[in-house]
Symmetry: C2
Subunit: 126 residues, 2 copies
DNA sequence: CCTTTGTGCAACTCTGTGGTTGCACTTTAT
DNA sequence: ATAAAGTGCAACCACAGAGTTGCACAAAGG
């Protein structure tokens, strides 16, 4: 079942299994923030299914201006989800989904906290 | 290793394994949006580690006003991550992390797309 | 060389959101 | 009954984000 990025059932490079809960503000902010916009998720999916593309091409498939799409791409790029490569006079954007592991990491840590809380409740004298 | 919510290695109630990529706008927007704020993630973690609490109590542990905290709690609640219960004159907030499964669902779907793309590249004649 | 196509930059508008303050209302306690 | 503690609502401000338009600059192509 594929091998691309390391966030499958097995490993999920969870950063700091303990000492978590420190919120790790910086990265997760921009990451979750980038994913919070449907247009941006759409762009990511498009780039994954149809392969790398330029801002102008992507703009043609949306009701948005090239500039608007460009801004979205830049948001995604600063979140680490994209990178670009200049070809001739065009700039081709490509998905680099490694940061997603961080998101899953936080979520799984949170899920663990929840589980621990449940356990604690279970251990209470009825 | 606990049982709380169903997003562990095994199942991850992935909604629509195919037909994904439809972006499912609504819910994921508010969900990722809610998680995009460090204060809100902090509040979730606090509520999980120290158990349910009121807005006023939570406000004491932050540099924020009760009103600000209140707004954050409401954002989290409309994202489905919290619910509240009125006790006497107080309102107690509690974490309900089930929606997190949706977030992981999208991420895993995206990871799958990535994997498929890798596979496609591998199958190309060198 | 001149036209086309694509990108880069900047200014501007509009709306949403984080945060505040102020006050009214309800519940508990003295 | 009255004071204290807690919540609810509304107005307000400041700033960031989404989106637009306009124009200048770089690369291909005739």
């Amino acid at each position: 079942m594929a091998t691309g990025i390391a966030l499958h059932r097995a490993g999920v490079s969870r950063p700091s299994t303990r000492a978590a809960v420190t919120t790790d503000s910086g990265a997760l902010d921009t990451l979750f923030g980038a994913l919070a916009d449907p247009t941006r998720r759409l762009l990511v999916e498009r780039l994954l299914t149809k392969g790398p593309a330029t801002a102008t091409v992507l703009a043609e498939t949306t009701p948005l201006t090239r500039q608007a799409v460009l801004k979205h791409l830049q948001v995604l790029e600063t979140a680490g989800l994209l990178d670009h490569e200049r070809v001739g006079r065009e700039v081709r954007y490509r998905v680099t989904p490694q940061p997603l592991a961080a998101a899953v990491g936080w979520i799984l840590d949170t899920a663990d906290l929840w589980d621990k809380r449940i356990d604690r409740l279970r251990r209470l004298p009825t």
